[in-house]
């Protein structure tokens, strides 16, 4: 088992004729071929105005609706540039895509506020934006992460950051652990899916035995997650919070990573998580071993 992604996931890419869209669609298709030879996992893409054409074997459609009707896609990976990305997300939701993964970085925050509002009534789930995507090792890669560092295993991984997720997966691999599913939720102030929803999914997923949560400065999502963990999560949890040394008021790369008015600091997040029984790694080099400690404590 896994969360969000399974053997029935059929993926299209919105923005497939762009450089990044095509490259990563190829990478995701190659991952699927390697792990599930003979199965059709990545089934095409959309670019308005290029419908009816083909690009490196992927059929291209004008609209998501068209792509869904002709391919049976239920998941969309979005590489549309920032000015048009919000519209692309809404198009996917309108076409009934169950899982929308938006990689695009730099979407105006009020565009995301409009998306968030519009999606309240939708049954679609949005992951991101500004995220590396999702991978269920051995089943499907829907994102820009290097597939090989994610081993099949029993850890549920949730992260705001891209390369830090790779670092964590690599550390887990070094101590013989892999993931059921790894989800990058994105570093923007407004995102589609939060820690709490994923914590609930991992808690309910029988194959997930432990959870590693990677957060960063800014906002209070990690503190709310800590409260949720305390009340509802029985599986061992470890965490790391990036940005302990970041100065207040400065944006640290991610639009969401900014400490304002003494709130959103790494220290307060670490304290809240520890109070919820989470093992918090003090050094980013200890994310894997922190999870090992969290698991051993329960034995």
């Amino acid at each position: 088992m896994s969360i969000l992604v399974d053997k029935n996931t059929k993926i299209i890419c919105q923005g497939i004729t762009g450089k990044s869209g095509l490259f990563h669609s190829q990478q995701c298709r190659a991952y699927a071929h390697e792990h599930r030879p003979g199965e059709d996992v990545f089934v095409g893409g959309c670019t308005p105005g290029k419908g009816g054409t083909e690009i490196d074997g992927f059929p291209v459609f004008n609209t998501v609706e068209d792509a869904v009707r002709k391919t049976g896609a239920n998941c969309s990976l979005i590489f549309v540039p920032p000015p048009f990305a919000a519209d692309a997300i809404l198009e996917a939701a309108d076409a009934g895509i169950a899982l929308i993964v938006c990689i695009t970085e730099g979407i105006p925050v009020l565009d995301m506020a409009k998306v968030k509002r519009a999606m309240v009534k939708s049954t679609s789930r949005l992951i991101g934006p500004n995220c590396p995507g999702i991978i269920t090792p051995g089943v499907a890669k829907i994102g820009i992460m290097p597939g090989y560092i994610h081993k099949i295993g029993s850890v549920g991984l949730i992260s705001k950051s891209g390369t830090l997720t790779y670092e964590a997966s690599w550390q887990l691999g070094n101590i013989g652990m892999g993931q059921t599913t790894a989800v990058g939720i994105g570093g923007d102030p407004i995102i589609g899916t939060t820690y709490i929803e994923l914590l609930e999914m991992f808690q309910n997923d029988p194959k997930t035995e432990s959870i590693l949560m990677i957060g960063e400065i800014g906002g209070n999502a990690e503190i709310q997650a800590a409260e949720y963990i305390k009340a509802h999560v029985t599986k061992p949890v470890a965490a790391f919070i990036a940005g302990a040394t970041a100065p207040p008021g400065k944006r640290m790369g991610h639009a969401g990573a900014i400490i304002s008015g003494g709130s959103g600091t790494a220290a307060e997040k670490q304290l809240a998580l520890e109070a919820a029984g989470v093992v918090v790694a003090q050094s980013p080099a200890d994310m894997g071993t922190a999870l090992k400690r969290a698991i051993d404590q329960r034995k």
Partner: protein, 395 residues
């Protein structure tokens, strides 16, 4: 993108929000003339820098001079302006180096009955804009929120519809406004929230919002920040950017597609990815060092970008060593090392350089480093690299 108070007030006035009559001055004589034109008994002369705390701030060159002063004559306006212009204002927000004042705002004095606080920001929790209001105007709102959270009013509003009339009235009554002030508040609050959305702001702060003796509502001070990601649809706002207020190296980095923030330490870092870049700063500190910067080269770094990144890091005279931390995913390690070695030769790096690589093609990349003949220290993992980098500073 941040703008100055005088620019914020011009934009707000154009959006129908009431601001005091004011005139911008760049010389002491202009300040005196502005006082005359305003024609009142009292005027306020305000230093225009992006940082807050100006009223209590003092000038390096004139320790007795404050950043914001009340004046009662043209001579006083001229004398104060003479000391302020071209001098360095240090406030609690500027850091000890301060900011040079090049522009003054001369404003009519108001008959102040009460001072309120208004702010509009994006609320992560509700996923939309929120109006924040308080009866405790003129104070540091974070202090108010900390000591008397019950005095902070929060009103979420719809990003499409804006703040509704009834919402504005509810806030007005909860702020204790009465009579014509309620009507004035209803207009001002709805306009302010509309401005926030129309202009893709990330923050609008009115502190204080002045309730005058006549019951009118006027913007005392205004801070406006725009969403950098939305500037593509607000080209008209771009000229408002004041590069003199920004860290020059941060501006240069931005132009090269790099994300750089200068810090106070002496160990420079070059990393791919924002989360890993922050973590690299953290692990340097964890092992007793002090990071000189945050630098994310992004996912598709090439020779030019890596060269520019080194140049920016080394432009900081405090930098005594550099730690490169790359987790090569899609970006292969050997590609990064090729760029690294080319940049090394181009720049002539003279400080110790520690490199930690992991990910795709790492073995080839390490071999390339070893065979390069350059005195590059290789870190085997994150901890090892951080320790070696911190140690290299002492050597």
């Amino acid at each position: 993108m941040k703008i100055h108070e005088y620019q914020a007030k011009q934009l707000l006035a154009a959006a129908g929000v009431k601001v005091p009559r004011n005139i911008v001055a760049h010389t002491a004589d202009e300040a005196a003339a502005a006082y005359q034109t305003l024609g009142g008994a009292i005027a306020v002369v305000k230093s225009q820098i992006h940082a807050g705390g100006r009223g209590k701030g003092t000038f390096n060159q004139h320790p007795e001079q404050r950043g914001v002063v009340l004046v009662k004559s043209a001579e006083a306006a001229k004398e104060n302006a003479g000391r302020m212009l071209g001098s360095t204002l240090v406030t609690i927000q500027t850091g000890p180096e301060g900011k040079v004042v090049n522009t003054l705002l001369v404003e009519e004095g108001l008959k102040i009955a009460r001072e309120l606080y208004l702010g509009v920001v994006v609320d992560r929790e509700s996923g939309g804009p929120i109006l924040i209001a308080s009866t405790e105007g003129g104070m540091d709102i974070e202090v108010v929120a900390h000591h008397t959270p019950e005095k902070i009013l929060r009103e979420s509003f719809d990003v499409e519809a804006g703040l509704r009339g009834f919402q504005a009235r509810n806030v007005a009554y909860r702020l204790g406004l009465e009579g014509p002030s309620v009507r004035a508040a209803e207009k001002l609050l709805t306009q302010l929230c509309k401005f926030f959305i129309d202009r893709d702001c990330s923050m609008v702060e009115i502190n204080p919002l002045v309730v005058t003796a006549e019951g009118d509502l006027v913007v005392g001070d205004a801070k406006v920040t725009f969403d950098d990601n939305a500037m593509f649809r607000h080209q008209d706002l771009l000229p408002l950017r004041d590069l003199a207020e920004e860290e020059p190296m941060e501006v240069q980095a931005q132009a090269s597609g790099l994300s750089y923030v200068k810090l106070d330490g002496n160990l420079g870092c070059l990393v791919n990815g924002a989360g890993l870049a922050m973590s690299t700063m953290d692990i340097i500190k964890y092992h007793g060092g002090a990071p000189a910067n945050f630098l994310d080269v992004g996912g598709g770094a090439n020779v030019d970008q890596v060269t520019e990144a080194f140049r920016i890091i080394l432009a900081d005279p405090n930098v005594k060593g550099i730690l490169v931390n790359i987790f090569g995913g899609i970006m292969k390690c050997d590609t990064i090392v090729t760029a690294l070695l080319a940049a090394y030769d181009k720049i002539g790096i003279k400080v110790p350089l520690v490199v930690r690589l992991e990910g795709t093609n790492v073995d080839l990349a390490r071999k390339m480093l070893a065979e390069s003949g350059k005195p590059i220290i290789v870190g085997t993992d994150l901890t090892d690299a951080a320790k070696k980098a911190v140690k290299s500073l002492g050597a």
